[in-house]
């Protein structure tokens, strides 16, 4: 069976199903049999386009009907095909008025207000509003007022498109409810007699977004109700995810909304909001539910990603039952105001050592680097190849002699009742973004085969440097690196082997795994130095849980 055949047969479904409100499809009360020509009044502006109803006498001479304005350019967009039938809906020709609006659209009043004014803001951001070469259909979602006339319009670019900077847009009227947005190759290019200038377009959102990764963003009109969340809306973004988002290529699948202003707001767990970029006249925000990761074939809700992160967090926190790594939660009574220092000494039996092996998504098995005094750093071992599932395992082995682990608990200013975690065992919130911290070392599990991100190695490195280390500059990181294909000279000295190079930087090598990759432990300074040298490439950063194929 072919898809066309299925579509055809679907056309013969029982009427009873079609009768269930489905027949009340959009446009039904407001169709225009033939689209009346549109006179466009365009003025170079901050990118605000107004579609303004024209008085009926002007309809008869659309070519003469352009609104006059010092800053406007009159042009005709479409030819007249006057086959309008009698309908109960008065046809509303639209006039494109792109004008300089220092004042946002809210204060605008058109003299021809006999008809509802339709406003389109198309000034979102060339970084955001990516237009493909093919025309984009902009659907006008109208809600009808009591007289059956359009009250509210929302313009949506419905094609996913791709990144195309500096495009001009030409709107072609298809019918009352549909415009086609043409993109031209150059800015300010006159296209079909109509120019929409993007000069002085506010350029405010997500300037740092990289194009390599794709996500879907839309927003909510202020007057709309809250969207449904498939994942709890109150699920907070870890603060660090704001950094992740900045590395995403976000573009608008949705287009232009009157009164709408772009803003990307990240809500923190404590309820605070982090706005990546806040334009003037902020009235909308993007919702978590509308942010999707894109893979080759589909979009996936960002919320799913967050949910998986939360699962991971729980998984890791469950490991707290192991004494050596248990986070010590101390409930401090509300009245406690003194500083309490407590030293715990745990004697570990020789038969249950702290040689924990953590398995990441890809099965990267690394021995922990233990910063706590009294523990022995294991010798380099050959690590096995990639596995497929992520789970954190604590494997007890019998290798080491009895050791003593000391941890110090310090609680200060505990006026309200709260839980304080010991510094050495706290699993930070950042764990939710896929980084696992154990004993002072941040393990960056490998995330190979994660298509949506499609990071190059350079981006991986940048990601680690810019989005991880800035939050944990004092931590050590367990990562996998691989030698550069061409060995280069460092300060006049040629390093014959990667090991030597790493040793010179004081980086500890835990072992090798597939493809001769070296699993190392290094602090941020060492990593930075290593990154600058271009001698080593990063291969393993994260993300262990971005598996949407399940």
């Amino acid at each position: 069976m072919k898809k066309e055949e299925l579509f055809q047969i679907l056309g013969e479904v029982d009427d009873e199903f079609l009768d269930e409100n489905v027949t009340e499809i959009k446009h039904s009360t407001s169709w225009i049999t033939a689209v009346v020509s549109i006179a466009a009044c365009i003025a170079v502006s901050a990118g605000l386009i107004y579609l303004i109803p024209k008085p009926s006498e002007d309809l008869r001479n659309p070519a003469e009907s352009a609104l006059q304005s010092e800053t406007s350019v009159t042009t005709s967009v479409q030819t007249v095909t006057e086959t309008q039938q009698e309908t109960d809906f008065q046809e509303i020709p639209l006039y494109f008025d792109l004008y300089t609006a220092t004042d946002p659209v809210t204060s605008y009043e058109h003299p021809y207000d006999a008809h509802p004014m339709i406003e389109i803001e198309i000034s979102e951001n060339p970084e955001i509003l990516y237009i493909s070469e093919t025309p984009q259909v902009i659907s006008v979602h109208d809600s009808l007022d009591s007289s059956g006339r359009p009250k509210q319009y929302e313009f949506t670019v419905t094609d996913t498109g791709y990144r195309a900077r500096n495009n001009d847009f030409t709107l072609e009227r298809i019918d009352e409810n549909t415009l086609i947005l043409h993109s031209a190759s150059n800015r300010y290019k006159v296209y079909d007699g109509m120019t929409l200038s993007r000069q002085n377009t506010p350029y405010y959102l997500l300037k740092d977004i990289q194009p390599e990764n794709i996500a879907y963003v839309s927003w909510q009109l202020p007057e709309e109700s809250e969207p449904e969340f498939s994942y709890p809306a109150e699920q907070a973004f870890p603060e660090e995810l704001a950094g992740i988002l900045q590395n995403m290529h976000i573009y608008a699948k949705s287009g232009c909304v009157s009164y709408a202003r772009w803003v990307f707001t990240v809500t923190m767990q404590d309820g605070t909001e982090h706005t990546i970029s806040q334009p003037e006249g902020l009235q909308n925000r993007f919702y978590i539910d509308d942010i999707l990761y894109y893979s080759d074939t589909d979009f996936y809700p960002f919320a799913e990603y967050i949910a998986k992160m939360a699962e991971l967090s729980e998984t890791v926190q469950n490991t707290e039952s192991i004494p050596e790594t248990t986070a010590v939660n101390t409930t401090v009574p509300e009245t406690t105001t003194t500083i309490t220092t407590e030293t715990t000494t745990t004697t570990q039996p020789a038969t249950a050592e702290t040689n924990q092996i953590m398995t990441g998504k890809s099965g990267v098995q690394v021995l922990p680097y233990v910063t706590t005094e009294g523990q022995t750093v294991p010798e380099p071992v050959v690590l096995p190849d990639i596995q497929t599932s992520f789970e954190t395992q604590i494997i007890m082995e019998e290798q080491y002699p009895e050791t003593t682990v000391q941890s110090e608990t310090t609680a200060t200013e505990t006026i309200p009742e709260m839980t304080v975690q010991t510094e050495t065992t706290t699993i930070p919130e950042f764990i939710q973004s896929g980084i696992i911290e154990e004993m002072g070392v941040i393990y960056a599990a490998e995330w190979e085969n994660i298509d949506p991100w499609e990071f190059t190695q350079g981006v991986e490195k940048d990601w680690l440097l810019s989005n991880v280390m800035q939050y944990y500059p004092d931590k050590k990181y367990c990562i996998a690196v691989h030698p550069a294909t061409v060995q280069i000279e460092e300060e006049g000295e040629e390093y014959p082997t990667p090991e030597e190079f790493l040793n010179d930087l004081g980086i500890q090598i835990l072992g090798r795994r597939k493809d001769n990759e070296l699993v190392i432990i290094a602090d941020s300074e060492q990593i930075e130095k290593m990154g600058q040298s271009e001698y080593m490439g990063f291969v393993a950063v994260l993300n262990p849980v971005m598996d949407f194929d399940q």
């Binding site: 898809k3 199903f17 009768d19 499809i25 659907s139 539910d289």
Partner: protein, 185 residues
Amino acid sequence: MNDIQIIELYFNRNQDAIRETEKEYGAYCFSIADNILHNQQDDEECLNDTWLRAWHSIPPSRPARLKLFLGKITRNLAFDKYRQKTADKRGGGDFEAVLDELAECVASPENVEQAFDAKALRQNLNQFLKALPQRDRQIFLKRYFYAESVRNIAKEYQITANHCTVILKRVRKKLQIYLEQEGFL
């Protein structure tokens, strides 16, 4: 003028039937055509063909629901025209997306094209639709009968486009499983 009166005009071979039909259901049929064709001239042509087809069909047909009767004609004609236009090249655009989504439902695990009984399939599809929750069914038909955009549907049902996409995807998956179980794939 109600359906009965319009149909009577057809039976009396009164050409006002077409005018009244167009007046009553022009917008509806136009929307269906436009969702598929996205071309005003084609839409109009499709509508004219619809009126003509109705003129030839009534009588002897006496549709119980004139609106749906016309809607189905328009849909078929628009789809025929769409296929005509895209015979040489892939069409792209929204409607192509609708078809591509449906392709998921007919993807056979064995990847073998099978002959199928259209009548039986139609009956099974009706059963499948009947078993769906009403909202899912409506959304499904909005998309795959009327070829409406996801955005439009989402707006109408006051859900996010993402949510709508997820619903559609789930129903498509159900349909695929159903078709497999019934031996159509």
